[in-house]
């Protein structure tokens, strides 16, 4: 059997991995090469000393630190390239491969790369959540649906100790780590944040420290209402820390996360993205300057402001500059595809169900509307079909292929005493129930909080389940899901634009 990384190209650039407990630190203005050019990492509060800093220190029992899965070179997330390199360099001993969630299931032989195939193939960590769901006080929530395990390729969901029918029932799903950067946007207190969730009218999760309603845009399932809550949860689960973090440790982690900004700053074809007089959308300083939590799906503020630049650039200044200008024009066209190219958005829960009609003729920027990040300003979980069947990427089953399903498959049946899911009915098959594993609601099955669209070139693969290996895969998914009919030029331009963010 070929090693999983044989499917993908080896990294072409030198990586700068930071180990937990490493001394040194981060510069105020850091730059990290990637296959698409260069990422900028801005520490707005100045250079960061890693020594003794709780974000960088191995605070748990498995040798991990926050930095393990939030590497600057990977836009404070973790790319597949980095994961594979760490497997090779450490022969699988890096703490990111810890059995608790860096393996497909803890019971598997940890020295075997096949036991970590979801991490090595798709960059996915195991997220294990209690069943039935628990509310903020830890009390069981009565779910609106039952759940069955249809397929269990990792062996975890039916495992007698770790699975759904164990003494402490758990559902294991597999997700990508999100960037711990640009966080003033997903934690904003601006448009769309109120006491009731804008998409379904239910009470908004409140910050346990401030008592204020939150934007519920942190994490794939919005289970952590604040950065402090997320850090505390991550310490207990991912780091396997046995005692709570201290207030000082939490303060330091949250302060660090709140001041670090990431974005691509050089595109290998378009050159510098942050030249003076260039579009103001690009580079980490744009994110520092941007206003958090405001709608950009308009022509007065824009999601990613380009100011009409990089259109109709000159030619005849030499091949290199002509190629650069052509690449810049492609990025500008991709922006226009993102903002203005309409298509029919259909059967997407928490988009077509919130007053726009089903279908609605809109653009990418309709959902990806938050200024500077392309997130949702309101509570942003939505079902675009990345995890729910029939749209989720599945291995073709036929007598002529050896390709096997990698992800679990669940069958969720909504109760008869509630309204059926408006698009999927009462029986829903999904690779990851998403927000529904927290809320227990039928309408939340397969809904995932949308991510910021920044620094994408540094942190492939994409979607919460790593099902898109490249930005072109992302574009192709949408083209297939919504029958958009993008031209080849539109696909290339959109992927180039996304890669420049």
């Amino acid at each position: 059997m070929a090693p999983p990384h044989a499917l993908y190209p080896a990294p072409k650039v030198t990586l700068r991995w930071i180990n937990p407990g490493e001394t040194g630190g981060l510069a105020a203005d850091g730059s990290y090469d990637n296959n698409q050019g260069q990422l900028g990492v801005l520490n707005a509060a100045g250079a960061v000393t890693a020594t003794g800093h709780p974000f960088f220190a191995p605070l748990g029992s498995n040798g991990r630190a926050c930095i393990s899965c939030h590497q600057p070179q990977d836009a404070m997330s973790l790319s597949l390239n980095s994961i594979r390199r760490q497997w090779q360099v450490t022969q699988g001993q890096d703490p990111i491969f810890a059995a608790v969630d860096g393996a497909n299931c803890p019971h598997l032989p940890q020295q075997d790369p096949a036991s970590h195939s979801l991490l090595l193939d798709r960059g996915l960590f195991r997220v294990f959540l209690p069943w039935p769901p628990r509310d903020a006080a830890g009390k069981a929530v009565e779910p609106e649906f039952s759940i069955e395990v249809v397929r269990d390729p990792t062996g975890c969901n039916l495992h007698p100790q770790h699975g759904l029918h164990s003494a402490q029932p758990m559902v294991s799903v597999y997700r990508r780590p999100r960037p711990a950067a640009n966080l003033k946007y997903p934690t904003h207190q601006n448009f769309g944040v109120s006491s009731f969730i804008g998409k379904n009218g239910l009470p908004t999760a409140r910050d346990p420290d401030t008592g204020k309603p939150t934007s519920m845009n942190l994490m794939a399932d919005a289970r952590a209402p604040s950065l402090r809550a997320q850090a505390a949860d991550a310490a207990a689960t991912h780091l396997q820390r046995l005692v709570p973090l201290s207030k000082a440790q939490l303060d330091a982690i949250v302060a660090f996360e709140g001041q670090v900004y990431v974005a691509q700053q050089i595109d290998r074809q378009a050159g510098s993205l942050i030249e003076p007089n260039g579009p103001s959308a690009f580079g980490p300083r744009a994110l520092l300057k941007g206003e958090a939590g405001v709608l950009g799906n308009n022509t007065s503020r824009w999601v990613f402001p380009m100011e009409g630049k990089w259109t109709a650039l000159s030619r005849g200044n030499g091949a290199a500059q002509d190629a650069r200008n052509a690449a810049r024009e492609s990025i500008a066209r991709g922006h226009d595809v993102f903002m203005f190219r309409t298509f029919w958005i259909r059967d997407s829960m928490h988009l077509n169900s919130v007053g726009l009609g089903n279908p609605t003729k809109r653009t990418c920027a309709t959902c990806h509307g938050m200024h500077m990040t392309g997130m949702d300003t309101a509570n942003g979980w939505m079902d675009i079909g990345s995890t729910n069947l029939p749209w989720a990427r599945e291995a073709p089953l036929n007598p002529w292929t050896t390709q096997k399903p990698e992800l679990p498959l669940f069958k969720l049946t909504c109760r008869n005493d509630i309204a059926p899911h408006p698009f999927l009915g009462r029986v829903i098959y999904t690779q990851d129930p998403g927000r529904a594993l927290i809320s227990g609601r039928c309408n939340d099955i397969g809904t995932i909080v949308m991510q910021q669209l920044r620094a994408l070139s540094a942190r492939a693969p994409y979607f919460s389940n790593g099902s898109a290996h490249s930005l072109r895969d992302v574009v192709d998914f949408y083209d297939r899901r919504y029958n958009i009919g993008y031209s080849e030029q539109e696909k290339q331009d959109l992927a180039n634009f996304l890669g420049a963010l």
Binding site: S195, N200, L202, N297, N298, R362
Partner: protein
């Protein structure tokens, strides 16, 4: 949740629902149909057919619209008044109109028509299909700001619903003023009364909302207010099981929850 239930008294008020339904008046059009989407050079129109006539329901705008488009894949209950306004997208304009997406999935409702020049809009829609010019098309979703120092008086709020519906995306704008007022006056008591309705269709059929809906609406509103932090007052939750006889002319206000906030 135990904390949510604390202080809630459940009362059942049985009210007989003897109903002798009159037919809706001549301009009223109440019917259930599959919605139809008609694309245009700008935003799509939403239409429906009834007794050989095509009716214009609404345009695609944004979430702030007073009338939101229905859904393909579901039938829609249309409750509207026929007007003599110029047709839009070929349809007779209903105004006012209330649209309720019925919960049952219906794969037969799947008609998406292409744009035809004769059906293009003759006016600029409230917002284009892509980015707006920086505002919502309407501002009906603006949450009313609570008075700075409201008088501590008993105040009643009404939460309306689409047919067969519970709380959804429109309700934060209705619930927030209740929450704000109750917190501002340090309410000691919240009385909640749930109702369900019926709709008299133009063909004389009566559609009744589900029997349990009045209770579910009332209990959900109590849970939502408590879940949003309004835990201090004592709650009384009651509901009227019987749906009143529908008139066919103004049935939608029966689908409601009344909330009385007492200092």
């Amino acid at each position: 949740m135990k904390s949510l239930q604390r202080g809630i008294t459940l009362l059942l008020a049985g009210v007989s629902g003897a109903a002798v339904a009159a037919m809706p008046d001549g301009a009223q059009r109440n019917f259930v149909a599959c919605p139809i989407v008609r694309d245009t050079a700008s935003v799509p129109c939403w239409l429906a057919e009834y007794e050989g006539e095509l009716y214009f329901l609404t345009l695609q705008t944004d979430v702030s619209a007073p009338v939101n488009p229905p859904m393909l894949g579901h039938k829609v209950l249309v409750e509207g008044r026929r007007t003599d306004k110029p047709r839009i997208c070929g349809g007779i304009v209903l105004e006012p109109v209330r649209l309720s997406v019925l919960p049952t999935l219906d794969a037969n409702c799947n008609q998406l028509l292409p744009a035809e020049a004769q059906y293009n809009l003759t006016f600029e829609p409230p917002r284009p299909p892509g980015p707006s010019k920086g505002r919502l098309a309407f501002n009906t979703l603006d949450v009313q700001q609570a008075e700075v120092a409201p008088q501590r008086v008993e105040k009643r709020f009404t939460i309306g619903y689409d047919f067969e519906a519970r709380v959804g995306f429109k309700h934060p704008a209705l619930l927030q003023p209740v929450l704000d007022y109750a917190l501002a006056i340090k309410a000691t008591r919240i009385d909640i009364e749930g109702h369900r309705g019926a709709a008299l269709l133009s063909d004389g059929t009566i559609l009744n909302e589900s029997p349990e809906l009045a209770r579910r609406r009332a209990q959900q509103v109590a849970e939502l207010l408590q879940g949003a932090g309004l835990t201090a007052p004592r709650y009384t939750v009651r509901w009227i099981d019987a749906a009143p006889a529908p008139s066919g002319s103004d049935d939608s206000p029966q689908r409601r929850v009344d909330i009385t906030v007492t200092p």
